[in-house]
Symmetry: C2
Subunit: 163 residues, 2 copies
DNA sequence: ACAAACCATTGTTGTCGTCAATGATTGTTT
DNA sequence: AAACAATCATTGACGACAACAATGGTTTGT
């Protein structure tokens, strides 16, 4: 612990505060920062949703359903990036709460269309600000235009990488 | 029910392509993007480290040790954000590989100082580009200055939030 | 009719994060 | 000095989560 580092290591551009202790080591890596902030974001989401008994995955599924008017579970799996087996449990929970309902696909009997039920719509309306609240708390140290910039960058990364 | 924080400033929407299909639903939220990209980042890290038998947590611990010349496990826990119980297993693995070694603290006999062994130093030198490779792959759609910008923004968020 | 591909589902495994409990040691109080 | 509380490393347990294999029912192609 006697690492009184006075040497400011040249970290290409001094735009980041190099003096901060947490900045040493792998913390300086953007990939690692992404990994760590992702964990924190998930925790905040789940904490905010805990009151409603749902978790982030449920919420994401509901939000997606609100935009497509029914989707096969296969589609949910691909679009949300969750494993098909995970979709089953999520839809089970949401169906038990009356937020969504499974309907047989007219043309393909092995598919099951998951559609947003009125109760789910109401829930989404009530908890509309959950995601915004989490993001606000997470990005508190950033100003409005910085948040927007971060949003754009993250969107680009998420898009071309996993879209 | 969830009035977490009165919406401070209206985030400008419109600069992101809203027409893209992946953009619907919760994907548009910065917090959710962070969560999702964090998962992807962790996967990439673990995949890149799989050859060496280590995982992201091991690597992060090694990288941190390389900067401090010995740290109590308690310090590792706080600095890396892992639970003390997690540190035990990580140090066990790394000690088994000869990458680190536990030394008794001179002033406090209940503390155990974890220090980087020569083998661990060599490993870090060999796998120096792992983190950079992952970040490059992750941030492929971004240009150099955009990556730098993202890095700065993420650092700020991670700093004031968890520092 | 037969085989291959697809969809939803179940089950399993390994990792991860959190918490509770223990033993040993140190600091503090009386 | 003795009793008490706090700290550190460690172990264990529990639930959440992601990735994968396997199954039954269904459609498609030959």
């Amino acid at each position: 612990m006697t690492s009184r580092k006075t040497t400011a290591e040249p970290v290409e551009e001094g735009s980041v505060d190099e003096g901060a202790p947490w900045m040493r080591g792998l913390h300086a890596d953007a990939g690692y920062l992404l990994y760590r902030l992702g964990l924190r974001s998930g925790q905040l989401f789940n904490a905010a949703l805990q009151r409603s008994g749902l978790r982030l995955r449920h919420y994401a599924l509901l939000r997606y359903l609100a935009t497509v008017e029914g989707a096969a579970q296969r589609e949910l799996s691909q679009e949300l990036g969750y494993d098909p087996s995970a979709i089953v449990g999520l839809v089970d929970d949401l169906e038990r709460l009356g937020f969504v309902e499974r309907r047989p696909a007219p043309d393909d009997r092995r598919r099951r269309i998951v559609a947003l039920a009125p109760a789910g719509h109401d829930f989404l309306r009530d908890s509309d600000e959950v995601a915004r609240g989490v993001t606000d708390e997470l990005l508190a140290p950033l100003g409005p235009q910085e948040r927007e910039m971060l949003h754009v960058l993250l969107s680009r990364v998420a898009h071309t990488d996993g879209g």
